[in-house]
Symmetry: C2
Subunit: 189 residues, 2 copies
């Protein structure tokens, strides 16, 4: 969008990005998704953390305070939404390791979920950041599932990422432009 | 699926349905979505309730107890997922009224969200149950938005539902077979 003085509009999500460089993968993804919504490109959200509430107080009408609750195991992935008519679904994880990604990071029913989405023509993947290396990969669910089903290893070596996953280049705005990679996956459909 | 003795498999989600007849719309939808997953038809889930956590206790390693939290306003709808490659997104509401559905039931940013999903080729709708009448309607987002943008009314009369929405017939298993209606919406794409 061009403004009368010739300057481009500065997106709110980009200003935030600038302030918070070097944040967690989750923050970077939230800011990137906010940016995608701002420019009307995609509607992808992080789901709320699932919680089992066991005690609630009602200090007044219309007001409720949770007094006790527990985190429960998610049965699906953390992020999903809509892009170009496609259903997008992914899980995002960070690891400090410089050599491999431990499979204990992903719950078995999350793997099952990614398989289901892939089978039903959704776009399913993992986003894995090797924080020490500062490398972030998009690993399509199909390849990820094929790999873990044919190995006895308890982790995925980084070489497999280099071979089968897509490196997401760092950018300024959005911070993690993973939809560029999704465009490639859609192209292959 | 046919078993050697000629009996059909009884689905877990249907057994549950039978036990809990006359439950809330939310329970009926959860059981129906569970059934759709069991028969590998669709992967649609209710999102967890968004909560802002303000105090957490760690009585031991790996254990966390939420000691204070508040319900926050959802920015999207309650249900989304994947069916036949389509992105499905909807909000579900009950009303005791026999004449109309009050618009205060839906947050303005949820309406905005449904509009965005519809514009980007997702399948967006409301499911509204008139509990006193025992009638449940699927109201496509496009018609819903068009209606509220051309009226000053603060509610939608039931006659508009009868005219523009689809009555979902009660069934045994799944309890609310709303994907039958979604098939019609997809057919029109």
């Amino acid at each position: 969008m061009n403004y009368p003085n010739g300057l481009k509009k500065t997106h709110q999500a980009c200003i935030t990005t600038h302030k918070n460089r070097g944040m967690s993968l989750e923050s970077d993804l939230n800011i990137s998704n906010e940016y995608y919504r701002e420019i009307d490109k995609a509607y992808i959200y992080k789901k709320p953390t699932p919680i089992q509430i066991t005690k609630v107080d009602y200090p007044s009408r219309d007001k409720a305070t949770i007094k006790e609750g527990f985190f429960t195991t998610p049965s699906t992935t953390d992020y999903n939404g809509l892009y170009k008519g496609y259903y997008i679904d992914f899980e995002a994880k960070e690891t400090k390791s410089t050599t491999s990604f431990a499979l204990t990071n992903i719950h078995p029913h999350q793997i099952e979920h990614l398989k289901n989405i892939d089978r039903h023509q959704g776009i399913a993947f993992l986003i894995v950041r090797f924080t020490t290396l500062n490398e972030t990969y998009l690993y399509p669910a199909k390849q990820f599932v094929e790999y873990i089903e044919t190995t006895d290893r308890k982790s995925i070596p980084i070489d497999i990422f280099k071979e089968q996953a897509y490196l997401i280049k760092d950018s300024y705005c959005p911070r993690i432009d993973y939809l560029k990679i999704v465009d490639k996956l859609i192209g292959g459909k």
